[in-house]
Amino acid sequence: MKRSWISLYGPAMILALVLLLGWQMYTRIGNVNPLVLPAPTEIITTLGKSWDTLFDHTVYTLMETVLGLALATICALVLALIMDLVGVVRRALYPLLILSQTIPIVALAPLLRIWFGFDMGPKILVVILFCFFPITVACIDGLEGTPGDLIKLLRSMKASRWQQLWFVRLPGALPSFFSGLRIAATYAPIAAIFGEIVGAEKGLGIFMQFSLNARATAQVFASIVILSLLSLFLFGFVILLERLALPWYHSTTASNRDGDNVSRKSKEMKG
């Protein structure tokens, strides 16, 4: 049976409310300096007061995030496909790809600013650097997960390599691709903020930095709230896309996920 909305989300909401209430009481009763820790109500008022400025910065950050994520997705798909189709490229690139992930991108961000300047480009680059890896790896895994027997079946039908890819391997890799995209979508806004903090013309990251320097702590918190909402929105959007793209995957989740599900790893088959 399906659980009701309240029994599913109620506990988390109540817990969040209690935590907020505790925070509010602590700042009021403990007489905490609002420059150190503003009360939740104060954050909300600040949010309303500086809405126009905040909105401007949010739009800018959102653009970097979405553009970066989209470009990362395209790069990752192309890279995964090429690596899947050409063995040499795969053997050449895969180790370097792993190696690239050991470079702290946070440390790279200031360099990118020096090389490419203060505008949007280098920020988008930071987002791409953060996001393309999980998507690429997920895609490669998905393409590799095609059961061997399915390939045999296609070959017995005299399907070309492209047909095998188009009819079986790509659709089978989609659930895996979306897992990667979901991870990337949670990284993306944070990556944009990293890019902005080291120097930008606009954006939530640089706004936070300014507010911090001006001791406007409530504004920092207001930016954090917006950033969280942005991340949630992006994550929700990816989930929506996934539902639209894979109706079969979600309608069968509960009842019969294994069986002969092709998107899962190949099951042990009789020879």
Partner: protein
């Protein structure tokens, strides 16, 4: 000479596979014939190489020695000329039943509309019309296997290579599948080569049964099943049928011991 033309004939076929750096003989001088529109079964101990033979006939691999003559032709590529069905139904979960059935036609680039018409007609003739637009995940094991069979038939109905298609089903479902397959086979008059380790299944469905040895597989014996068609489940309790079953069973037991 032969009264009927031959769908596939296998002459002295041998095959070795590399296993942990060593060449292991899997098939040894296999001789076998499937006449046009005949139902032929191949029974043998598990892991003896029955599946490897189908693999070769389907054109996924070439024999080391001997030849495989498909519809009188031993030279050209065999891929795409047989309907090959494996033990797992291997339905694509993102395609509906009818879309799964047309997979082979998609590979052949048949126009969608035409392909779907053919699929719907086939599904209707064999009692699956109600499921045409379902996703495979909603089907039972037996139903999935029927869909997989129809996919095979729609792709290529002259020669069907069935690799233990009912191995994963429960006994009752398997029996209904036998009746269903008999109907299907009679109405499309296909030539069938079925690999199985179920002797009753082989006897019920086949005109001819080849018994294979333990690895490396040779043909031990060939039996003709003398039963009029269409057959009923009760036919299996006839005296001479039971004797045949026991004979094959004893032969296989002997092989399992080796």
């Amino acid at each position: 000479m032969e009264q009927r033309s031959i769908a596939v004939s296998i002459k002295k076929v041998s095959k070795r596979y590399l296993h942990q750096g060593r060449e292991v003989p899997v098939l040894q001088e296999i001789d076998l014939t499937v006449p046009q529109a005949a139902f032929v079964s191949l029974v043998g101990p598990s892991g003896c190489g029955k599946s490897s033979l189908l693999h070769l006939i389907a054109g996924l691999d070439e024999p080391d020695e001997g030849e495989i003559i498909l519809h009188g032709d031993s030279k050209s590529s065999r891929a795409g000329k047989c309907g090959y069905m494996l033990q797992q139904p291997l339905l694509l979960p993102w395609r509906t039943v009818e879309e799964n059935v047309i997979l082979g036609l998609d590979v052949r680039k048949t126009p969608r509309k035409e392909a779907l018409e053919k699929a719907r007609d086939l599904l209707k003739r064999f009692g699956l019309a109600d499921f045409a637009e379902n996703y495979p995940a909603t089907l039972s094991g037996g139903m999935k296997q029927r869909v997989a069979l129809l996919r095979t038939v729609l792709f290529q109905n002259e020669l069907l290579l069935l690799d233990e298609p009912f191995g994963a089903l429960d006994a009752l479902t398997r029996q209904t599948m036998h009746l269903w397959l008999q109907d299907l086979w009679e109405s499309i008059s296909a030539s069938v080569l079925l690999v199985t380790h179920d002797i009753r299944e082989a006897i019920f469905l086949s005109d001819t049964i080849y018994v294979m040895s333990h690895r490396p597989a040779r043909i031990l014996q060939r039996y003709d099943v003398d039963l009029p068609r269409p057959r009923k489940i009760e036919d299996l309790s006839q005296e001479h049928v039971i004797q045949l079953e026991q004979k094959i069973f004893a032969q296989l037991m002997e092989e399992e011991k080796v």
